[in-house]
Symmetry: D3
Subunit: 324 residues, 6 copies
């Protein structure tokens, strides 16, 4: 495989294809225009400025476009950037599909689909199963492409489905260890809990919150879809089975402050909430620690209450030298 | 009109029909059973104990039954009660309809209906009007009977419709005073905002939260009904018009901590939230002050952050005597 | 009327008189001095840098001065600015009165005065009326010029009086709709509630908090003025009438956290608090929405808990395109 | 000295004069009236019920009356009480002055007066000294009788003056240890900070919050008095000296949540706040620990965030026996 | 097996041996002493009053004693109680060992010991293994008897070890599912995290907080033991390995507000915190739901933010009847 | 004494020796490297940029090095800086000891040592005295050099010992004023309370948190040392005396949110907490006010809840001019 954006060392010349993830026209203090660009591929992101841009360049180099880039990896105020020597749009006979330059889930879409199937089949309660099948079918394509978040956790193509699968795997362990848990309800709730993100987020390339997502949020979005689905399938959306399922998705953020209009009040809902938090926090820590040398702390992770996590070196670390 | 439960003075004998609002079997420390009863009519409530009850009496005197009661108004630990001399079920040729003994909204059901109509007709946006008309028709009977709360504000027959009307009247004043407010959206949002309470609460007689109400809450309940209604009426429930209307009802509690999964982010939603709070707090203060002598404070009102409100006497009050 | 600062398009040359609202001497990284200027007129504000300034220019171009400016409207990092070609002080025979370049309330000072009068006359309780008349007379000029805040809501000449009038108009509607509200008390409280801002703020041109304002705040300032006024007018400042009026102004922020030393504990105080919040939030939303295109969100409004508000287009909006 | 209420052991017969601190008419479940009485003297309080009371007795035995009591010290549900055998009003030739039966400050009124004088004289700034002298003179009698609180700390006759003196003594130590503290300002602020409690509280016998106290609070009360005093003495109440003094009293609770409309923003105000808290907490701990055996925890102290404090026995304690 | 305390129906006569868990001397309003007793065995608890007690009975019937009891199961104010007909101390030839009447963990002590062993052996880092082995050996007996809490979760004999084992089982699943987790560290932290409870709590019979427990808390208790153990075993207690282990136990409550002096800042610590919460909440919900009929809510569970949990009936429930 | 860094006026040429406290390689937008340097001596700090640096210079000018500097004091964006004309490392025969250029406590190390001794000798309880002596001896050198914080309060050489001494002096005053305080316990707790900072912080030159400090915090650090010391000295670390001492250091931050795993529950601990806060806040205010002209506010002080403090001019101040 070719070298990607984050495979280069500081000072090393680079030449590669990449996706424009962000492009802002700015003006120097002296009045000259330039483009502040962010490039990305499956290895991550890199920023760089294109000085003295022409109007034509501003039109060309827009987010979502694939470009060919030559330059040198450098750093500005401690952050890596690229000094651009040459930049042009990728041509049609070059690898110019934007989706190839977006980060991917650790497992392939097919593997995730295969792994999810037995969980859907384990839902023995017929109403829940009909609703889950209907909604997965409806969102099919987006569900397996969508990220699970704009930034934070699982912010990559397929992140939503992968996060859902991880929770289901944890749920299976919990069901095996403890008695009295309704397997159908926990699986159905886990499968649907974040499905509203397919509407809340604009998709894996240049992920933004949609206006609808900002005005409603993914929790009411999926709850509303369940109700409309029931109407379509001739199921009473205020029957006891549906109320239990709606409670699962409505309460999964755990606290009202986090956007759940009700707190978990059935055991399966409380468990779903815990597993959702556990999986999201492990994924965020793994991602941050992968970029952090042993003996160092990660950058602060906003979604984990702004904590920085330490990466021990072989279970040990060298302490800072003391002075007095 | 005949004298009602709260028209009697302490020490005065009474004989009247009333509704049993609550009935609890209890045992004295020495082991004798008795019934702790709460009676009610349109003037309010009064408690009393029926000592040495028989099993037959326990069966008869259940909540929702109308009884004929003779006794004497008294007080126990500062709270009024009735010493029961005689009690029996009302017969068929006596006034034994439970709904006659429940507190009523300050305006009649017909007046409220008449007053609401022009607000519905002022909704000129066709999608919102169809949804509002459909849902008011669906809930019709309950909407005009339901209380607006279990205790707190507007906890009487018709309270929900009366509270809705009060908000609409305030909204009209606000629209006249300020420019740029979408009248249709504000009225539609106000009409629907608490409609989920028809499902969340069990009704005006012996109001309880239903199980469905506890597990979903009235905000997701009405949001889900809007979505199902759209499905039924062939309206896209994620179209921009519907999203704006859903945002109105979802955000009307103002803060996530109060059960709104999103905060108000359009001007009409922010206004609806303020008017909802204003009307509810005025109604609670009026109710509490009506029971409080000039120069005294009301009991603490839980839903107003446990504040007690002062009732000034002709804009003045007598101060407590000082000592030193 | 001549074109004002915000009537020009990006890239358009401009020549106009304006007020210097802020002027900061700064140094480039290479050590050259320049002036970072903010210009303003009734249409709003615009920033621009004057490079390579002389000491004489630093002396001349101070906040509060009116200048004549030639240049071109441009933008730096997404924010509009002016590239200054020529700048000089306005001469005596040019329109050089600073107050002409400050934003104005939506109604004229005379209209506001006329509109306020009947509210003062509606105060029938003699003590409150004397105090209100005395304090309005004392602050007269400032009251009708003062903004209601440094930034946030009603931050323009006459904003304080206009905000007061808006609350009084809302109060009148509320009094008509609900029984048991003391009209004199509510009007007197509304008229005085923010009057301390005439001392807390330095005035409409280049509004700053005064040192006294920072050390005491406008709530104790007006409460102290009421007490001193009583002493002057031979009224007992701890009589029941005065205590009720003081309670109105002391409690109007609603919560201790917001600077009220007591929470509202009479009905009129609770209503005043609600109407104060309602008017301030509507004014802030109107101001922000006026600068925002349909289909867009406003900037975040700090005083509304940092929320951004959406401006729907004809009750609808175009959703962001999805990708996957 | 004669034996007082808390000098008797459980089971011991008692005969003594005491003050009625509280008297509530109650009814047994079977309908008989009785009086729930609280007696007090300088040793503390004791409760007891007077069964089968007559209307005449209810009239006689009111709070503030001195009675002669015969009975036996006992306990009910773990709390001490007295079984009343005989009770009658004290006659004119018996010790029937209520103020003799109220708890006293640890130092005599004369000693406190003497100790306070040098602090007043150390205020060299003339405006502050005039205001302090005027206000101490105005409140003189009450200041030296008033408790510092209804319950919590220094809730005894003279508690307010004693608490003030303790803070001044601490202030003197702090001034000696640290440089740059304005002695006049700190002393003047300390002397006035709680003076509003003479109005907020009804006095040492049966201390209650006055209506004025509830509606304004002691912080605005003293701030208002300072302003009115200035008006009377022809001092500008918004002059810099007065603003600093007002800031001292307004900010002394430290946090807005605790009723200060401004937080301390001058060094002397911050110090006053700390010393106020330090003295109050020591006094509360001393009082609670005095009633607690070594090796035991005190009751929870509400005003210290509901903490219970441990009383070690000679710096050691016996641990609870373990079992397994 | 013989019928236990909670195997009897309301109204059924009972005769059995039980443990006195609590005994309080109280007095009726009329002055008679009685004993308020709480009895317990492995099926739970039951309360009852012994009227007109003699001093000798008060001496005999103390907490921790086994008694023989005859009476009838009844209820007072909705809570079950026993009407005592006959009560005496168990004799030496009767089953009078207190520990037989205390609730037990769901698995036997031997099974728990056997199940824990492989987790200890999976700790390959030698320092952590030495510390864990030393501390488990030191506390051995208590560790396998101690409850995990006074009330809340795992409040039974062996609860501490059982809770520890449950977390380890969850940890094993998590390690299998996610990469990059240090198994030795997570197991060592889980094994030690609550070991301080053996000192904080008095033991399984009549569990109380010890004075030492109140003054230090179980987190500093185990941290201090780790340090002392290191000193004893000649390990540097500020070496990197020990610091990591101490961080695990210090941070496991997750938030400072919950008593952890540091928040989790290594991945294994964050995971331990989540698994601790997950296991505790499942155990509390299981316990509460086991006492709750289908279609009902449990009592409010204080340690789960006072939530009540719903017990659905076969995934469905009957809704409350509506009225209007 | 020679002129130091902060003895120069803006615009004045300077030539002096100073310590490099921070050095960051940065790149201009156009790609040139420069060094952003912070210089320091006992008078404070000053920043400056070294343009167009060579790699050799980057190697030379590292934090902790003493340099000789020629340039001119200037300002950039309102903050003082130095325009560097010439810079080189100090030679061996020049004053190149880094510790000479670090801020010092207001009293000399010897004076502090002398002043502390009587407090140690006043600890009459033998166990506490042994522990205190052992730990002071162990940390001796660091204790008298270490700052008390990275930034905030007492962030200078010897700050930790000086802060400890100030608390002890306050404690002595408190003990003299109030009865019932255990002098030995209060002194022992004060002496040890912050000793963990010798491990938590890297030392006085370029103070950083150590990794151990971040993972454990200074409160568990000193608590762990006490336990290990006990083990070494054959004292039971869970004996009542040691538990009381550990409680003192564990609880001294007052609130769990501030990192104390237990809140103060003995009187001496509560007092220590108050005195710690009082001394720290006075020191921070003194430092900030010393840099602030009369009539001005200090910069916001983060550790004092971001408040700015006012510096009155001779107890008075000039108010901002008003306009209208």
């Amino acid at each position: 495989m070719e070298k990607q954006i984050n495979d280069f060392q500081e000072g090393e010349p680079l030449a590669l294809f990449a996706l424009i993830k962000d492009a802002q026209v700015r003006t120097t203090k002296k009045g000259d225009n330039y483009l502040a660009l962010t490039f990305g591929d499956q290895s991550g992101e890199l920023s760089g400025n294109l000085w003295d841009v022409t109007d034509e360049q501003v039109q060309q180099f827009q987010p979502g476009k694939v470009i060919y880039l030559e330059g040198q990896r450098d750093s500005y105020q401690g952050r890596p950037q690229v000094n651009i020597n040459n930049i042009r749009l990728a041509t049609d006979d070059e690898p110019n599909q934007p989706e190839k330059y977006v980060e991917q889930a650790p497992e392939s879409e097919d593997d995730i689909k295969t792994a999810l199937r037995p969980f859907v089949m384990a839902i023995t309660e017929p109403t829940w199963r009909r609703i889950v099948n209907h909604l997965l079918a409806k969102h099919g394509e987006y569900f397996f492409k969508s990220p699970a978040a704009k930034t934070n956790h699982h912010a990559f193509t397929g992140g939503l489905a992968y996060h859902t699968l991880s929770i289901l795997r944890l749920a299976k362990s919990v069901i095996q260890q403890y008695s009295g848990i309704n397997e159908s309800l926990l699986y159905a709730g886990a499968l649907l809990h974040d499905l509203g993100k397919t509407v809340e987020l604009s998709g894996p390339v240049g992920t933004q919150y949609t206006t609808t997502g900002k005005l409603l949020g993914h929790i009411p979005l999926i709850d509303g879809e369940i109700c409309a689905t029931c109407e379509e399938l001739n199921i009473d959306y205020e029957s006891s089975e549906v109320v239990l399922l709606r409670h699962m998705v409505l309460s999964h953020h755990g606290l009202l402050e986090y956007g759940s209009p009700v707190r978990p009040e059935i055991m399966e809902a409380e468990i779903l909430h815990h597993l959702d938090e556990l999986d999201a926090s492990i994924m965020m820590m793994q991602t941050a620690l992968a970029k952090t040398k042993p003996g160092q702390f990660t950058d602060r992770i906003f979604a984990l209450d702004n904590r920085a996590f330490f990466n021990p070196d072989d279970d040990k670390y060298e302490e800072t030298t003391k002075n007095s």
